[in-house]
Amino acid sequence: MNADVKPRTPPKPNVYVNTAPFWEAAQQRRLVIQYCCDAGKFQHYPRPVSIFTGRRNLEWREVSGRGVIYAHTVIRIPGPGLEGRLPLPAATVELDEGVRFIANIIETDPARIAIGARVAVAWDPITDDFVYPAFKVVEG
């Protein structure tokens, strides 16, 4: 972690829908994603219903945390919580389970960040006792 980066504020869970299982799993460094049991598909961010069926037959399932970079950028403009973090690599990651995730790319040489690059979930310590999901580029 960059020495200039101040501890950030952990996100408040359950503001939109019940996301406590996501954040509890994250603190155990496990990535769980909302799964529609009827359609047999994942969705992210967490929704109040299945985007496939409109029903609430949803559960949290652990995923591999492996996928590829679908799109990437480098954020160079300031914003809340970005102090000392710029330039900040961010990406849309497509997990192998068929769902996308917007996340920072950490622990990675910027030259290796490319569409199609294989990634694995990594855990960004945003405070001393809270990790936030991010991804790092890994070998095929």
């Binding site: 950030r8 996100p11 408040k12 869970p13 503001v15 939109y16 996301t19 598909k41 994942f42 969705q43 992210h44 961010y45 967490p46 985007i51 496939f52 679908y70 799109a71 990437h72 950028t73 480098v74 954020i75 160079r76 403009i77 914003g79 809340p80 919580g81 970005l82 973090r85 900040l88 961010a90 990406a91 849309t92 497509e94 068929g98 769902v99 996308r100 995730f101 917007i102 996340a103 920072n104 569409i115 945003i126 936030y132």
Partner: protein, 388 residues
């Protein structure tokens, strides 16, 4: 009564100003007064109103009712439009439906916002947990991701984006209502040396939030004749789509709602892209303009860069683009922005384009874009074809 009987019979637009220190109400008042001045109508014939949700007053759920009170208007039909940059064209379309259904006869479609003076919007929802901590907090980062993916799938030439930016700037120099700060020429070199804000998106690919307002009068052609309004334009077709591919987890993010609605608006208007006299697309970012050339069939998907470089997109050209400078060079008056390109289209079709008048225009294609969702293409796409 058919769609063809309903027209836009007046428009007004305030100058675009940065940090005016004024409210959306005050800008709306300026727009209404200008509309009454230019059309000579009695205010009290207005019996319908559509108001755009503004960033600067978004915390007031009764803004539209407050606005009616502020303006001394007592509408029998009131619409509060929350589809961002689609709210102006969408407001006109909804007003047409209301007039057809007999809810009102003369509708004021009003968009006013002052976010560079007062920002009172909080998108809330999932963003605090899943988007803001990543730093993907606003449109530039989302559009950086979209541009990056587009450039991977297709051919994105920065010279084409530079041409959009510089031609629109030339148009803004001829627009008295354009933001004062932007009234200086821009070269291709200026564009190419412009600061990158979210790779590969540059500052000069982007809009700047400002303050301003615009207003339109919608009524039947018969009513316009009765009042003595000589200049009218006919909305020949409208279509919108929100949350394209919304039931998919991994859609192609370069697929926009416009690709879906373009065939509908052209079919309804009985026109094809080559029949369009001017293109006034919503231009929050240059890549959105480029993609819309493709989506509306001016060229094939992926050929936008070459099309822009090969054609004259100036007001004198074969496909005039955002002849008032668009939002990128006239300034983006918050969520009133969807009315900026619409006002320019109506102005041109009325023959009031002044130094930037398109020669004998018959038609205009105007579009809107509203909000950028999580990991998707933009939220709402709206398109309207106007006929002189």
């Amino acid at each position: 009564m058919s769609t063809g009987d309903i027209v836009i019979a007046g428009y007004s637009e305030t100058p675009v100003v940065f940090r005016s220190g004024r409210s959306a109400y005050d800008f709306a008042g300026e727009a209404l007064a200008a509309l009454i001045e230019s059309t000579g109508i009695d205010k009290d014939i207005i019996d319908g109103m559509s108001v755009t949700v503004p960033l600067s007053e978004a915390s007031n759920p009764f803004f539209a009712v407050y606005m009616a009170d502020a303006l001394g208007i007592s509408p029998t039909w009131l619409n509060y439009g929350g589809i961002g940059g689609c709210s102006a064209t969408g407001g006109v379309a909804r007003a047409m439906s209301a007039i057809r259904d007999g809810y009102c006869e003369v509708a004021l479609v009003l968009s006013a916002d002052a976010p560079s003076t007062s920002w009172r919007a909080n998108y809330g929802a999932f963003r605090g947990e899943f988007q803001d901590p990543v730093g993907v907090q606003g449109p530039p980062a989302m559009f950086g991701l979209l541009m990056n993916r587009y450039a991977y799938q297709y051919d994105l030439k920065e010279e084409a984006l530079a041409k959009i930016a510089t031609v629109q700037r030339e148009h803004a120099l001829l627009n008295d209502n354009a933001l004062e700060k932007f009234k200086k020429p821009m070269t291709k070199e200026d564009y190419l040396s412009s600061r990158v804000v979210a790779d590969p998106l540059r500052m000069l690919d982007s809009v700047m939030f400002c303050d301003g307002a615009n207003a339109f009068l919608v009524m039947t052609q018969a009513r316009a004749n009765q009042i003595g309004l000589k200049k009218t334009v006919r909305p020949a077709a409208y279509a919108e789509l929100t949350n394209v591919n919304g039931n998919q987890s991994c859609p192609d993010i370069t697929e926009t709602g416009f690709a879906r609605i373009a065939p509908k608006v052209f079919a309804k208007a009985g026109l094809k892209p080559s029949d369009i006299s001017m293109f006034q697309p919503y231009d929050d970012f240059t890549i959105a303009v480029l993609m819309q050339f493709e989506d509306f069939g001016f060229c094939e998907r992926g050929e936008g860069s070459d099309f822009i470089l090969a054609n004259d997109i100036s007001y004198q050209g074969n496909i005039p683009l955002n002849t008032g400078g668009g939002q990128i060079s006239a300034g983006q008056p918050g969520l009133a922005s969807g009315g900026l390109n619409l006002a320019e289209a109506v102005r041109q079709l009325f023959g009031e384009g002044g130094k930037r008048q398109v020669k004998a225009p018959k038609t205009a294609l105007v579009t809107g874009i509203g909000v950028i969702p999580y990991g998707r293409n933009w939220g709402t796409s709206a398109a309207m074809i106007l006929e002189a």
